[in-house]
């Protein structure tokens, strides 16, 4: 059994919207391009996010959200919308386990 921590409260704050914003900001750092120019339904590879950066992005997500993900997650969920949707589910599942 895990002792409840403050984590569920913070996790509850994550929504598809907040996660999309986080991802867009991160991608804008990778690509040196304003976040509002990155459409949420266009594959990130179209903007030039290479396979190496996609692996780096996965590491960033793990670090900031305390998740363990498949390194290829950004390949399988190639748009901001898809990735945010997936992460919301993962974060909910983590809360369920706690």
């Amino acid at each position: 059994m895990t002792v409840p921590t403050g984590r569920p409260a913070t996790v509850r704050e994550h929504t598809v919207e907040t996660l999309s914003e986080w991802i867009a900001n991160r991608i804008s750092l990778y690509l040196k391009r304003p976040a509002d120019e990155i459409a949420s339904n266009v594959p990130l590879a179209e903007y030039g996010l290479d396979s190496v950066a996609a692996l780096s992005l996965c590491g960033d997500i793990e670090e900031d959200f305390d998740l363990v993900l498949e390194p290829t997650v950004a390949w399988d969920y190639p748009t901001i919308d898809a990735l945010a949707g997936y992460l919301v589910e993962e974060l909910r599942a983590t809360v369920g386990e706690a």
């Binding site: 690509l31 040196k32 996965c58 590491g59 190639p78």
Partner: protein, 591 residues
């Protein structure tokens, strides 16, 4: 199941008996190849140096060499044991190929290593039927080409244009693959192809196409390339024009091609660079022979301190490269989750170091380095052939790019906090479990190899000057890891992409040197605990190797105790006179 109570008188052993069968089999196989190839210096030997040089001049692979390897069924060494082959361990594969690379890099590559590169995809992700079929082809002596490359895209193979369009009953292949070894005679091709128009890393697949099943009107072999090195290799290309292959050609799942390639690379990148140590060994041996015989200033070249040190340094380079190669190839079995980093580091650092070693040796050899025949002619051939190992299949920058996205993660999660590697990682002769193809992963966030270096900081030193030197240099390496950690944490997001700034690439270089130091220390600690190899157990070589790596990092370590250089020099001479290999195995050679 037998138990102690069921067998009267049986006693439970204190520990399982060491499994020496794998080591015995490896020694036998290496000895068999050495015996078949015979003395390289014998002019009457059909696979001696003189004849191999003549084949190279003619741009052909030695026919006698290929027959010899046919007779030895070298292709069986690429096939897993459960499919009837001899492949049980990656470190053993590297070791078994050394007698071939010792004599002729082109023969090693051209006869078969590219077949292994193709086959690993199938061993990793192929269906049972594909695995059996490919095993049959290889056990029958066939070649298989690995067809990933397209000149326009280099290592950026996600941008490859070669198409495999899904159609009823299979795929239609269209486009060109270039600079492909054995394309004109391979029985099958492992093809990396785009199966989806969408951008990104889920749009490619690997297909295994058999030559005889293809419509000959819809595919052709492209003209042969001439190359600066490995002139005997038959390197050409393939062109397909809407050529059908059955659905069963797909290896693994559709869209998994990039992932499969990156997983397969972990095995091939670990294994290949260590094979080249055979060629570097011959080069060092050639120059030692020269230095002993040649008289200058009324003494032999060997008595000139600069020349003697250069030869000792070359030997140290070989030991460093072999230590790193050993750790990476054994990590495939013992630490498969961590292999992505180690494999890329080996493929980056080992060819680079060996190229520099060859340059240093060429200075001792002087004008003879340019001569293409005779006693020293093999040297210039190896100089031309060795770079192919750093060009072929993953350039050094591509290997660095594999490590870059993992640095920040390792810095945050692993360095100075993770568990050290098991001692078996560094034991050249200890048995290993089967190759866990399914457990190779693209990134892990763990690094047990550098953790072994950190752990070595606490080793007791026995007080000898050499032991003290090892200890001091180990502490300095740990300081370097601390700096690498800080610099990795400071990398900007943009520096964690393939377009990272040069500083990120330089960071990978420092990290690679550090892992080499960790491997050297690991090998020496294991040898000291084991005690059967007095040279590897001696701190002298480890201190000298760490010293060399520290200087490579731009450090200015204190001078070594005189005993270190003396011990390494004696070993260089002993192995020359006794015909023993210049690597971790001290293998008896045929000449």
């Amino acid at each position: 199941m037998l138990t102690n109570s069921a067998v009267p008188g049986a006693r439970r052993p204190a520990a399982p008996a060491p499994d020496t069968a794998q080591e015995a089999a490896a020694q036998t196989r290496v000895a068999e190849l050495e015996r078949r190839f015979g003395d390289p210096g014998d002019p009457a030997n059909p696979v001696g140096t003189q004849r191999l040089l003549a084949a190279d001049e003619a741009g052909e692979l030695s026919r006698d060499g290929e027959h010899l390897l046919d007779d030895a069924v070298l292709t069986a060494d690429f096939v897993p044991a459960d499919l009837g082959g001899r492949l049980t361990r990656i470190d053993t594969l590297t070791r078994v190929l050394r007698p071939v690379f010792r004599r002729d890099v082109a023969l090693g590559l051209g006869y078969g290593v590219t077949s292994f590169m193709a086959a690993v995809n199938v061993w990793t992700a192929g269906s049972e039927e594909q695995r059996r079929r490919l095993a049959d082809l290889l056990l029958g002596g066939a070649r298989v080409s690995v067809a990933y490359h397209e000149l326009a895209h280099g290592n950026d193979f996600v941008r490859n244009g070669f198409l495999a369009r899904p159609e009823p009953g299979g795929y239609r292949l269209h486009g060109r693959k270039e600079v492909i070894n054995n394309a004109e005679r391979a029985a099958a091709f492992a093809l990396f192809a785009r199966t989806d128009d969408a951008p990104g890393s889920r749009s490619h697949s690997v297909l295994l196409a058999e030559r005889d099943a293809l419509d000959p009107a819809r595919f052709r072999t492209l003209p042969r390339y001439t190359t600066a090195g490995v002139r005997g290799c038959r390197i050409s290309g393939l062109e397909f024009d809407d050529c059908h292959v059955p659905a069963g050609a797909l290896v693994g799942e559709r869209g998994q091609g990039v992932e499969l390639a990156l997983r397969s690379f972990q095995i091939t990148r670990s294994a290949l660079p260590g094979m080249a140590l055979g060629a570097a060994d011959t080069s060092l041996r050639t120059v030692v022979g020269f230095a002993r015989g040649r008289q200058l200033y009324r003494r032999s070249v060997m008595e000139i301190p600069h020349a003697r040190d250069t030869l000792s340094d070359a030997f140290l380079d070989l030991l460093i490269c072999d230590s790193l190669s050993l750790a990476a190839t054994r990590a495939v079995h013992l630490l498969p989750e961590e292999t992505s980093v180690y494999a890329a580091v080996v493929k980056y650092l080992v060819p680079r170091m060996l190229t520099e070693t060859m340059h240093d040796l060429s200075i001792v050899l002087g004008a003879r380095f340019y001569v293409r025949e005779g006693e020293f002619g093999i040297f210039q051939k190896h100089v031309r052939d060795l770079p192919v190992l750093s060009l072929g299949h993953a350039g050094s920058a591509a290997c660095q790019a594999t490590v870059i996205p993992q640095l920040a993660r390792l810095a945050r999660r692993s360095w100075f906090s993770g568990d050290q590697a098991p001692a078996e990682l560094f034991e050249p002769r200890t048995a290993l479990p089967a190759i866990p193809f399914e457990r190779l992963t693209l990134a892990s966030g763990r690094d047990s190899l550098s953790a072994s270096l950190v752990a070595a900081c606490d080793d007791p030193a026995d007080g000898s000057p050499e032991e003290q030197a090892v200890r001091t240099l180990t502490l300095r390496m740990a300081d370097e890891l601390r700096r690498i950690q800080q610099d990795s944490l400071a990398l900007s997001p943009q520096d964690r992409t393939a377009l990272a700034a040069p500083t990120a690439f330089a960071l990978v270089d420092r990290y690679a040197v550090l892992l080499a130091a960790a491997a050297v220390l690991g090998v020496r600690r294991a040898a000291r605990a084991d005690g059967t190899d007095p040279f590897l157990a001696d701190p002298a070589w480890a201190a000298a190797a760490l010293h060399r790596l520290a200087r490579r990092l731009g450090q200015h370590p204190a001078e070594l105790p005189a005993g270190c250089a003396e011990r390494v020099h004696r070993e260089v001479l002993r192995r020359f006179h006794e015909h023993r290999s210049y690597d971790l195995y001290d293998t008896p050679l045929a000449g």
